[in-house]
């Protein structure tokens, strides 16, 4: 899944006219040498050459001249070549401007000094017109290719950002979250972060009526564009084709058979799908290679993992899944998460070991209760703790969703 789309069109064959139309600024205090350089370039077909005798004046005019390349002598009265090169490099717009330095020096340390000052290349005087032209052309062609690449990159970044907005639009909308809160008494907190602009994680929510709500969280293998496309396939299938009246295990079975028909070998997903039933006060769920959800209960806010099992999706169309259920009483919380939470490293080891995760979940739940359930939920608090310990850079997609069964008396 490392395939990156290639540029849709080949870079143009390097048309001579492209480079020959470049603006060249030549600076040399020696009129004869200056004319020699100008002439060599003009004979090679370059049409826009500005020949200057004074470096300081040229520097003052530089933005008006708008050079594509600067050719400068080194030994000059007033502002010398090295000073001139350093002054150009200090201007942010000219950070990557090709600068070709002409020098009579042969000693390696003096040549090194020119490169240290910021020269892109160097020709030795007396100049050979052929060598000069070849070096100028090469520098200009490189500049053009770099510009082309940066335009391409910019466009890809824009497209990825657009796609990322589209992907986030697949996640449950505020309206759905509010409906579930109203109909089921479930307060929800969610974190969704992609490591590469686009992610392979997705989660969803749907009110089923009669105090029930369906929730799922899935994590496709790999990350980036291919994994993100798979999240679209899954979300569309669940929305359009899933018969949600069935048991969680039967729903996973439907999804597994769908993915077996869609995904190539080597791509797969882990998933948890469950139904909150706030009347019978249970959470019934089935899992496919997913991490165990955390249930937080009681006055002490004790955390434990709910049992899981079942193979990853797309492993085999004959795979069997099991419906399990855990009590879910008013005041209880349930946390679902992708392995981006548990595998994020800190000093070469996962930060959230199972024991650490349980104790942090309890702590987060206690803090939330102490704040009168007004602050961020358990999912956000776990993410913040991880970010504080392991740093902000994600190597995997991270999704965490926590549900709190509101108690009528304290949440009224």
């Amino acid at each position: 899944m490392s395939a990156v789309p290639t540029a849709p069109r080949q870079p143009d064959a390097i048309a001579p006219s492209d480079v020959l139309g470049s603006r060249i600024v030549v600076v040399d205090d020696d009129e004869i040498a200056l004319e020699g350089t100008r002439r060599a370039l003009a004979l090679a077909g370059f049409a826009r050459i500005e020949a200057r005798l004074d470096a300081r004046e040229t520097l003052a005019d530089l933005s008006a001249l708008g050079p594509d390349i600067v050719i400068s002598d080194l030994l000059m009265p007033g502002m010398d070549g090295l000073e001139f090169v350093r002054a150009i490099r200090a201007i942010p717009a000219y950070e990557h401007l090709p600068i070709l330095v002409q020098t009579g020096f042969e000693r390696p340390e003096e040549r090194a000094g020119a490169f240290e000052a910021g020269a892109s290349d160097l020709v030795t005087k007396p100049i050979s017109p052929r060598e000069l032209v070849v070096r100028v052309r090469t520098l200009l062609e490189n500049r053009r290719l770099i510009k082309q690449l940066s335009v391409y990159r910019q466009r890809m970044d824009e497209e990825l950002r657009t796609a990322s907005v589209m992907q986030k639009a697949l996640l449950p909308k505020d309206k759905v979250i509010k409906t579930v809160r109203r109909e089921c008494g479930l307060a929800l907190d969610a974190v969704y972060e992609a490591s590469l602009t686009l992610g392979g994680d997705i989660w969803g929510l749907a009110p089923l009526g009669e105090g029930r709500a369906l929730v799922y969280i899935a994590d496709f293998s790999g990350h980036g564009v291919a994994a993100a496309l798979n999240t679209v396939r899954l979300s569309t299938f669940i929305e359009r084709s899933l018969d949600v009246s069935a048991q969680p295990s039967a729903l996973l079975d439907q999804i597994n058979r769908f993915l077996c028909g869609e995904l190539p070998i080597g791509q797969f997903a882990t998933m948890l799908l469950g139904v909150f039933d706030t009347r019978s006060r249970r959470f019934a769920y089935a899992t496919a290679g997913a991490d165990a959800p955390i249930r937080i209960a009681g006055a002490a806010r004790r955390s434990e993992f709910a049992p899981v099992g079942g193979p990853i999706l797309r492993l085999s169309p004959d795979a069997r899944f099991e419906t399990r259920s855990v009590p879910f009483e008013p005041g209880d919380e349930l946390v679902l998460y992708s392995d981006g939470l548990t595998e994020a490293p800190h000093a070469d080891r996962p930060y959230f070991t199972p024991a650490q995760l349980l104790s942090s979940a309890s702590e987060a739940s206690r803090a939330l209760a102490a704040e009168g359930h007004l602050g961020p939920g358990v999912a956000t608090r776990l993410r913040d703790e991880l970010a504080g310990a392991a740093g902000r850079t994600l190597t995997d997609d991270l999704t965490a969703v926590s549900f709190r069964f509101m108690e009528p008396e304290s949440d009224a």
Partner: protein, 100 residues
Amino acid sequence: MQAEIAKGADYVEVRLAGALTFDDHEPFRQLLSDLLAAESPHVVLELSSVTSVDSSGLGMFLIADDETKRAGRRLTLRSAEGQVRHVLKLSGVDTIIAVE
């Protein structure tokens, strides 16, 4: 990922080492085609020095299994330890591919 190939009488074994991740996809594909080119009926991935495997790494095992089967050979994952062993079991991949 590092890899070292050894050929026996009726098997070809590759010892993998390090973390098996997203970035190893291309080298792994190449490795797989080298292994199949060895024409041994039995392909063994020796995993005792593999420190971790992510979802892309697990996907590579599934691709290896598929390609060895297509070529009429069989694949064994040998000596997985720690996180790797855990992931093979949790994912159910150990029900599809022979794990020793």
